[in-house]
């Protein structure tokens, strides 16, 4: 009797967790389609991206070498991203943001916020 109750108690939160995980995956996947920048072979890709104000852009480093995401005007600065690390920034103000890697400053990109 006791075991049955315990099992039920475990199943319910597990189901909820799975649902949450699924929805989290979905939103990440969606973000990757629209506002994702990958860093690979010492390049930001895409090198220019246009998003709407209020959007969050996520950078993911796929190189074995760390990179950083730095805004030229000093609005934001990621820490060093190891391979597969990500960094996100929410762009509230419209404008053109010049981005570079603080470790390899010749790596450049722009984010245009409308």
């Amino acid at each position: 009797m006791l075991t049955t109750i315990l099992r039920r108690a475990l199943i319910a939160p597990l189901g909820a967790a799975m649902l949450m995980a699924a929805s989290a995956n979905f939103s990440v996947a969606q973000a990757q389609v629209t506002n994702a920048v990958v860093i690979k072979n010492f390049m930001f890709s895409p090198m220019s991206l246009t998003v709407k104000a209020g959007s969050t852009v996520t950078w993911k480093n796929l190189d074995d070498e760390p990179h950083t995401v730095v805004d030229d005007a000093g609005v934001f600065h990621s820490s060093a991203l190891d391979r597969d690390d990500t960094y996100s920034f929410k762009f509230d103000k419209p404008g053109v943001y010049k981005i570079f890697c603080g470790i390899h400053p010749y790596m450049k990109a722009t984010i245009t916020v409308q």
Binding site: N41, F42, M43, D63, D64, E65, P66, T68, H77, S79, A80, D82, R83, G102, I103, H104, P105, Y106, M107
Partner: protein, 313 residues
């Protein structure tokens, strides 16, 4: 065997040998000509070559503690191997310089692990300069640990055995094209530091990034290094040491010898070979042949510098 040694080594010959400068080659700088000499030969004919077997100091570089990718999943292990090699040297060098990229990601725990490993070095003095991997947080962690020697400037100088050592920082003011930079404050400090010093004083300059442009597209150089080198031109013996590119490249210009050291962590491709200076994956039995440590000896009379690179295998 001595017949193998060119009696009047040409610069071209020296440069040709430099291209193959691998394990067990000793570079002897005499009269502005850098001549590579087989180590075994140097050992057997020390007196003839006036090569002392007492290294004045050691250079360790690019330990990248915290790196854990395929190119070397055990950078702590290869640093330990390096330290064991140094501790087993028959005569202890007086001091060690670390030319930066102590850590991979500037994380406190990476600095802690590096300090713990380096404390195993059987040498009393350790002098450092930061690499760009050490200051990705703006320098907070590096300076909290190593800033004292320089009033938190990072650059400083000291004297040892009549040799003037100058530590420069070229990873805090990058040029837009990706080259390293020293900045006006540091250049002014360097000029003042050298003022009034006798030109016969042997000078050793050490920094993380190369002080001459090896390959601009990958940022392998220092944008305002020429200014610094102009202050150093009048000195009779200048040895400029750096790391950053994880392989040996040398150049001699007048009385100035430029030399980059190997990493203790992982090799990098030769200039322009690939999309960027990514960690180079090599077969595991090849890795320790591409990692190592540099020993340097400076002699006063006649003024000369010897640079010797050893690999871990």
């Amino acid at each position: 065997m001595s017949s193998d040694l060119p009696s009047n080594p040409s610069r071209r010959g020296a440069l040709r040998c430099l291209a193959f400068g691998g394990a067990g080659t000793l570079f002897v700088l005499a009269g502005g000509v850098l001549a590579p000499v087989d180590l075994a030969l140097a050992a057997s004919e020390k007196s003839a070559l006036a090569v002392s077997d007492i290294p004045l100091f050691l250079q360790i570089s690019d330990t990248h503690i915290g790196f854990k990718q395929e190119a070397n999943p055990d950078v702590a292990g290869t640093l330990k191997q390096t330290i064991d090699y140094v501790n087993a040297m028959p005569i202890k060098p007086a001091l060690t310089i670390h030319t930066g990229d102590i850590t991979h990601l500037s994380k406190p725990e990476q600095f802690d692990q590096a300090a713990q490993l380096l404390s195993g070095l059987n040498i009393t003095e350790l002098h450092t300069v930061p690499g760009e991997h050490d200051v990705t947080d703006g320098g907070a962690e590096y300076f909290s640990r190593f800033g004292k020697a320089s009033n938190n400037k990072g650059y400083y100088s000291f004297d040892h055995n009549g040799v003037h050592f100058i530590a420069l920082v070229n990873v805090m003011h990058f040029k837009p094209n990706g080259l390293g930079g020293l900045g006006d404050d540091q250049l002014a400090w360097l000029q003042a530091d050298l003022k009034g010093r006798s030109s016969s004083t042997p000078i050793v300059v050490f920094a993380h990034m190369p002080m001459w442009t090896i390959y601009q597209p990958w940022g392998w150089g220092t944008g305002d290094a020429d200014q610094a080198m102009s202050y150093l031109k009048r000195f009779g013996s200048v040895t400029v040491l750096n790391g950053h590119i994880h392989q040996i490249v040398s150049k001699v210009e007048g009385n100035v010898t430029f030399h980059t050291a190997r990493s203790t962590a992982y090799p990098q491709p030769t200039a322009g070979n690939g999309p960027g200076p990514l960690p180079l994956k090599v077969p595991s039995d090849q890795l320790t042949k591409m990692l190592g440590v540099t020993s340097v000896n400076i002699m006063h009379d006649p003024l000369s510098a010897t640079i010797s690179d050893a690999t871990l295998a």
